[in-house]
C-alpha cells in the first residue's frame, strides 16, 4: 500500500495522500480496535466540552501533542494535514458577522458575541477532531483499521466492501491516470465546461471498467472457494494492559471535560 503513495500523490486530487507512517512506537503497536475506540471517545468528549472553557482545549491539544511525540509523528506532518480544514475556516470566519444576539465592536467591525463563540467552537473542536483522526491514520495501517472495525462488530459485509475499495482504489486510480495520459498524449487539455463531456465519457468508461473488474474479481474469488464471507486469518485481540494504555487518552480528556463543566 505504501508503495502506491507516489502514484496517488501524482494524481494531484484532493485528499489522495496516504497518511500511514511506518514506525515501531508504542502507539503503532496497540491493537487497532483499542485505538479506534480511544480516538472516537476522545473526539466525543471534546465535542461535548463547553466552549467557554478555553483552557480545556489547550489541555486537549497538549494531550494530542503528547500522543504525537510518543508515536513519533513529527509536528510538521500533523500541521500540514490540518490544512484539510481550510474550507470550514472560511465558514467559521463568516459566523461572527451573521449570527444573532448582542454585538460587540472589534476594530470598527460589528461582530456578534454569539457568533464569535460559535466560530471558536467550530474551529477548536474541528481542529482537535482532525488532529486526532490524523494521529489514528498515521499510526495504523489501513488493513489493520479494517480488522479493528470488524472486531468492533461493524457488519462484515460493510468491512468487506471497504477492504475491496481500499485494495482496488489504487488500481482504479491508476486506470484513471492512464486514461488521462492517453487524453493528453492526443493533445487534449480540459480548459472549461466545453470539455466536460470528454471528461465525463472518461468517467463513464472508468465506471464500466471498475464494474467489469468487480465481476472478474468475484469470479476469481468464487473459483477459489469464496461463499460470501472472508476467512478470518488474524484475529486481533487486546490485553487489559493495552486497553488501559489506549484509553488513557480519552480518560484524561474526560477529566478535563468534567473540570470544564464544573469550573
Amino acid at each position: 500500500m505504501g508503495a502506491n503513495a507516489g502514484t496517488a500523490h501524482a494524481l494531484g486530487g484532493k485528499g489522495a495522500h496516504r497518511l500511514y507512517r511506518h514506525g515501531h512506537s508504542p502507539v503503532h503497536a496497540l491493537p487497532p480496535h483499542t485505538k479506534l475506540v480511544a480516538v472516537f471517545a476522545f473526539v466525543l468528549v471534546v465535542v461535548s466540552t463547553p466552549r467557554e472553557a478555553m483552557w480545556a482545549y489547550a489541555l486537549y491539544a497538549l494531550l494530542l501533542a503528547v500522543v504525537a511525540s510518543v508515536a513519533r509523528v513529527p509536528a510538521g506532518f500533523l500541521l500540514k494535514r490540518l490544512l484539510i480544514e481550510v474550507p470550514f475556516v472560511a465558514f467559521a470566519v463568516l459566523l461572527p458577522f451573521v449570527a444573532e444576539g448582542e454585538r460587540v465592536d472589534v476594530l470598527g467591525l460589528s461582530l456578534s458575541v454569539n457568533g464569535l463563540w460559535g466560530a471558536w467552537n467550530v474551529l477548536a473542536k474541528g481542529t482537535l477532531g482532525v488532529a486526532a483522526s490524523v494521529l489514528l491514520a498515521a499510526t495504523t495501517e489501513p488493513r489493520e483499521l479494517l480488522l479493528g472495525l470488524q472486531r468492533l462488530r461493524l457488519p462484515p459485509l460493510l468491512v468487506q466492501i471497504a477492504s475491496f475499495m481500499i485494495r482496488y482504489g489504487d488500481v482504479i486510480a491508476d486506470e484513471m491516470r492512464r486514461m488521462r495520459i492517453a487524453r493528453e498524449s492526443r493533445g487534449f487539455e480540459a480548459r472549461g465546461p466545453r470539455h466536460w463531456s470528454v471528461l465525463a465519457k472518461s468517467a463513464g468508461a472508468l465506471f464500466i471498467r471498475a464494474y467489469e473488474r468487480g465481476e472478474r474479481v468475484h469470479l476469481a474469488m468464487v473459483s477459489r472457494g469464496y461463499a460470501g464471507s472472508m476467512p478470518v486469518v488474524d484475529e486481533v485481540t487486546a490485553s487489559r494492559a493495552q486497553w488501559s494504555y489506549a484509553l488513557a487518552l480519552p480518560g484524561a480528556a474526560l477529566v478535563v471535560c468534567l473540570l470544564g463543566w464544573t469550573l
Partner: protein, 368 residues
C-alpha cells in the same frame, strides 16, 4: 463536515439514522447482488472515490469535482449506492482524516442517504413519466442530480436548526446553503447526465435505474416473433434519429425551464404584484376579495412558511409548486394512459383468442 458543527445529541441521532440506512442498504444490496455484493460494491466505491478526483475546470483556474451520490444511485441502485458512498465517507474519515469522526453519521445521512434516495426517487419518477428511451434517462439523471444536491443542503439546514452550535437565523443558513448548492448542483447535474449518457451508450445493462427500459431482442422466425435468450447488443442503435421523438426535447426543456423559472426567477422577482393583482388594486376590486380556503397552507402566498428570507421562500415555493403540478398532472396522464394501454392490450388479445376475450375487451373499453 468536521466535528463540532452540530451538538452531540443531533450527531447521535444522525448516526442512528445512518446506521439504519446502512442496514437497509446492506439487505437491499444483498438482495440485488447476492454474494457479488462485496467485490462489486467495493469496486464501485473505488470508482466513486477515483471519480471524485477528476477535476472539471470551470473558469479561470477554478475547478469542481463530482460528489457522486446521484451518479452512484442511478448506476447501481439506491441500496448499493448508499453503501458505496457511506464506505467512501468512512474510508475518507478514517484513512484520510477527512471529515470528523463524530460527524460521520451526519455526513453519511446527508451525502449518502438523502442524496441517493432523493436522486433515485426523482430519477425513477421521471423515467416513468417521460417517454421511454436513452435520452430520457440522460435528462432524468440531470434533473435527479440537480435536485439531490440542494436537497442535501436543505437536510443540513434542518439538522442545523435542530442542533446547530451557533445561533444563526435559520433563513440565512437556508439561503446560503441552498444558494451555493444550487450552483454546485448544476455542475453535478451536467457531469452526472454526461456520465450516465456515456455508460448507457456502451453498456445500457449496467445502468440500474434504467433496467426495465431494456427491450429483449426478438427475431422473426417463420413469421413469428421469437425471444432471443441472450441479447448482448444494445437494441437501439447509437445514431437514433432525433426527429422520430420530437416531443421529448419539448417535455424536457419545458420541465427544466419551468423549474429554473420557478426557482430562480421568482427568487429574483420583484415584490410588485402581478398584472391582475395590480389592476385589482387600482380599481378597488380587491376590497371584496376574500382570502381563499388555503390561505394558511404552508405554501400560501407563494412562500414557504418559516423560511425567513422572502426571496428564497418564494423560490422554494415556486420549485415545490412546479413539482406538485408536474406530479399531479402526470399522475392524471399516467392513469389515463394506463387505462388506455390496458384497454388496447385486452382488445389485442381478443382478436387472437376470439369470443372468450371479447367481453373483457368491451369492459376494458367502457372504462376509458
Amino acid at each position: 463536515m468536521p466535528d463540532g458543527f452540530l451538538n452531540a445529541p443531533t450527531s447521535a441521532v444522525a448516526g442512528v439514522v445512518a446506521a439504519g440506512a446502512i442496514a437497509v442498504g446492506l439487505r437491499g444490496a444483498r438482495r440485488e447482488l447476492d454474494e457479488r455484493t462485496a467485490p462489486l460494491a467495493g469496486l464501485v466505491a473505488a470508482f466513486v472515490f477515483a471519480a471524485q478526483m477528476i477535476n472539471f475546470p470551470v473558469a479561470a483556474g477554478t475547478s469542481g469535482h463530482l460528489l457522486g451520490g446521484a451518479l452512484a444511485a442511478i448506476l447501481v441502485g439506491p441500496c448499493t449506492g448508499i453503501l458505496c458512498i457511506s464506505v467512501v465517507l468512512l474510508v475518507q474519515g478514517l484513512l484520510f482524516a477527512d471529515g470528523g469522526l463524530t460527524a460521520l453519521g451526519v455526513n453519511i445521512t446527508l451525502m449518502a442517504v438523502v442524496t441517493a434516495v432523493v436522486a433515485y426517487a426523482v430519477f425513477r419518477g421521471l423515467v416513468k413519466l417521460l417517454p421511454r428511451g436513452r435520452r430520457t434517462v440522460t435528462a432524468a439523471s440531470f434533473v435527479a442530480a440537480l435536485v439531490s444536491v440542494p436537497a442535501s443542503a436543505l437536510a443540513f439546514t434542518l439538522l442545523y436548526a435542530a442542533g446547530g452550535t451557533t445561533d444563526v437565523a435559520i433563513g440565512k443558513v437556508a439561503t446560503a446553503m441552498v444558494g451555493v448548492h444550487v450552483l454546485i448542483g448544476i455542475g453535478e447535474a451536467v457531469i452526472t447526465a454526461l456520465t450516465v449518457g456515456a455508460v448507457i451508450a456502451v453498456r445500457p445493462d449496467l445502468v440500474h435505474g434504467a433496467r426495465d427500459l431494456r427491450q429483449p431482442l426478438r427475431l422473426r422466425v417463420n413469421g413469428e416473433l421469437v425471444d432471443v435468450p441472450d441479447a448482448p447488443k444494445d437494441p437501439e442503435p447509437e445514431s437514433a434519429p432525433a426527429t422520430a421523438r420530437s416531443h421529448r426535447p419539448l417535455w424536457i426543456t419545458g420541465l427544466i425551464t419551468s423549474l429554473v423559472l420557478a426557482g430562480f426567477v421568482s427568487f429574483y422577482a420583484s415584490a410588485d404584484p402581478d398584472g391582475l393583482e395590480r389592476v385589482a388594486q387600482d380599481h378597488g376590486i380587491d376590497k371584496t376579495e376574500k382570502e381563499h380556503a388555503y390561505a394558511d397552507s404552508p405554501l400560501a402566498d407563494y412562500g414557504v412558511k418559516d423560511v425567513a428570507n422572502e426571496r428564497l421562500s418564494g423560490g422554494l415555493a415556486g420549485v415545490i409548486g412546479v413539482g406538485v403540478t408536474v406530479a399531479a398532472g402526470s399522475g392524471v396522464f399516467w392513469v389515463v394512459r394506463r387505462r388506455r394501454t390496458a384497454a388496447a392490450g385486452s382488445g389485442g388479445s381478443a382478436e387472437s383468442t376470439g369470443s372468450a376475450a371479447s367481453s373483457s375487451s368491451s369492459s376494458g373499453s367502457r372504462t376509458v
